[in-house]
Amino acid sequence: MIEFHLDGRSGVAPYMQLIHQVRHALRLGLLREGDQLPTVKDVAAGLAINPNTVLKAYRELEYEGLAAARPGIGTFVTGTLDGGSLAAHGPLRADLRRWMAKARRAGLDDESIEALFLSTFRSASEENIA
């Protein structure tokens, strides 16, 4: 069982934070198929959040095929996200490290590197959508 937490200052909607945490746990193998997610009541009471927010997050996970509700029992993980891509992480990480070293040599500090990465990432994603 995982435990959720909320960052009130992140600006990310609470239901999205819950979804991110489930997806993150799935990526890292902390959650596996068949695991039960915390009940709506427990999450609502634990975090002092609206139960509808939890329901919304769980519905979204169901829609993505990552979870399924069993009426009267709870919501269970039905999918995985490591998708066999875990093996590819190593080489990709090495590429990124090389790129970061290059950026440092060019005089970029941490914040500049992060800003450059994020803005490139965003514009590339937008191009994909368009």
């Binding site: 909320l6 909607a13 009471a45 002092a48 959040i49 139960p51 509808n52």
Partner: protein
Amino acid sequence: MTAVIETEGLGKRYRKLWALADCTLSIPAGHVVGLVGPNGAGKTTLLSLATGMLAPTTGTIRVLGGRPAAGPAQLARVGYLAQEAPVYAGLSVADHLRLGAHLNPGWDAALARRRIDQLDLDPGRRAGKLSGGQSAQLALTLALGKRPELLILDEPVASLDPLARREFLQDLMETVAEQQVSVVLSSHLISDLERVCDYVIVLVDSRVRVAGPADELLAAHHLLSGPRRDMATLPDGLEVISASHTDRQSTLLVRSGGPVLDPAWAVSEVGLEDLVLAYMKQAAGRGHRQRHLEVQK
């Protein structure tokens, strides 16, 4: 489903002062509604009208389809927790539960006892000796014990310390998850809103500025920033809620039916807190302008 609170042209005037004016709302059931606004905006007036403790000057209000406080049946359906969560200082915790049982036909004694146990309140202790958080929890227990369909809470956590506030809201959310109860709570603390409320009403200067399901409101509002720009050149369909400018840059919070496509703007999502603040600021700005005009006359 019937609306939990439905008002039309609702207003309340004290002598010359309108505490609430021209209020038309339809709040669907099954929500936790946050009624937000600065002190003196009219929040307590609206809640007092909903509980039937005040009679409207203009317009109509229906609560769960009935007239507020129309009779015992209507009273039993609505739980109300007044500001500062009043309890009887001289009575013990157990006395409060007995009182609740005698005064409420649908009293759920098991639920009330379970809550007192969970809260670790000594039944023999006098309410006047409880901490702020404990007496708020006792008052909430009384309101929940009558098993209302609608729970109205006026500034329930304003006077509590952060820990007691969190515990109170945790209990409230657990109750909402367990029971079919709609909640309307007023607050001038908007930081808890995003967690707790899924429907928001912003009330400023006795008027409703915006109301709706939180996710719909968030989807319809955007934060734009870009090169400084004359507001007159904005495309139609964008309603500017708040704007600030430097000599180079403009930052706007806008309401728009669709996505904002102009590439000159960097568009980002708005949090509930920013959204509420923008409406409060907008209303305050209008107030200043009006006052200014009066001075000029």
